[in-house]
């Protein structure tokens, strides 16, 4: 059987996501944050940002083929999505994400290891790194997602 750890360093092709005003508004409504900065252009124009910006966890919408990447990992892939849990999430911020931005990103497998869970026994852990850039090549955010894949 192929060792899943040989997949560390594997990277997807580049994905791109065009951020529309409606995406930002729908996300704000979904999280129950009705701050006009996220949907009211007239209000946002008069602030220090000069226009609408996205909520600070909006990068979760930059998805790409994350599930396919996880499914491709030997021995682990067959348990996705039913045994998949999101264990940790980290976001680093460099620049505001705005409507009209085209965000490009690749998803990279940063680490794969085993862990003993308190409740569910031995589990596999997969860490993904997703640095995201805007149309000017500036890094806007970088996020790191840690997934736990149960064995039972």
């Amino acid at each position: 059987m192929e060792d899943p750890r040989t997949f560390i360093g594997k990277e997807t092709p580049e994905f791109s996501f065009e951020v529309e005003k409606g995406n930002i508004r729908d996300f704000a409504v979904a999280i129950g944050d009705l701050d006009p900065m996220f949907y009211d252009e007239g209000y946002a124009k008069k602030t220090r940002f000069g226009g609408i910006i996205a909520p600070n966890t909006f990068s979760h919408t930059f998805r790409g083929e994350k599930t396919s990447l996880l499914r491709s990992i030997p021995q682990i892939g067959a348990r996705i999505p039913q045994k998949l849990l999101h264990g940790e999430h980290e976001i680093e911020y460099f620049k505001a994400v705005r409507p009209g931005d085209t965000v490009t990103f690749k998803i990279k497998i940063a680490d794969i290891y085993e862990r003993e869970g308190k409740r569910s026994g031995k589990m596999d852990v997969v860490v993904l790194d997703i640095p995201c850039f805007n149309q000017d090549g500036e890094e806007v955010v970088k996020y790191r997602q840690t997934f736990v894949i149960r064995r039972q």
């Binding site: 009211d40 966890t57 998949l84 940790e88 976001i91």
Partner: protein
């Protein structure tokens, strides 16, 4: 919040909070609390809305038979929804785009009907490279006082009298 009519825009305008808060570096100290945020109970409709808005359609969050057969005892909210609540708390406390880094662990699941309360406090205050930072512990707890999501936030604060 749990409107299912799709008439969200009307609600948006009505509930708008217009004044952005500013917290200055000189005015905070280690041990200070971040103003807590009590969210409305999470509903199945909100979970579906979040799935749509984030395009995260893992069926474990909306498909009851699937969530049961996966051994999860039913559907539960995306962990990222609780992180979004923490992000909202930080933003409402000290303003937009002050966050430099936010890192969390998802400890317990949020079920439909659960009410999350977000809180936090300042653990470090320091200057680095001419910038003014604070480090905070942040957390979201449910109505049974169980820790749901826990982590840290690194925040860059402005100095008073300086943009």
């Amino acid at each position: 919040m749990d409107n299912f009519s799709g008439g969200a825009d009307v609600q948006l305008a009505k509930n708008a909070k217009v004044k952005e808060k500013v917290v200055f570096f000189e005015e905070v100290n280690v041990g200070d609390q971040i103003t807590s945020l009590i969210k409305e109970p999470v509903t199945r409709t909100q979970i579906v809305r979040y799935a749509g808005a984030s395009r995260d359609f893992n069926p474990i969050h909306h498909d009851e038979p699937f969530a049961q057969s996966a051994g999860m005892g039913g559907v539960f909210a995306h962990g990222m929804m609780s992180m979004a609540f923490l992000g909202q708390m930080v933003k409402e406390w000290c303003g937009h785009e002050r966050l430099k880094k936010m890192k969390v662990r998802f400890i317990n699941l949020t079920r439909p009907g659960d009410t999350l309360t977000c809180g936090g406090k300042i653990t470090q205050k320091y200057q680095m490279g001419g910038e003014n930072y604070i480090e905070c512990e942040i957390f979201a707890q449910n109505q049974r006082n169980e820790m749901v999501t826990q982590g840290t936030a690194t925040i860059l604060l402005p100095l008073r009298g300086k943009k």
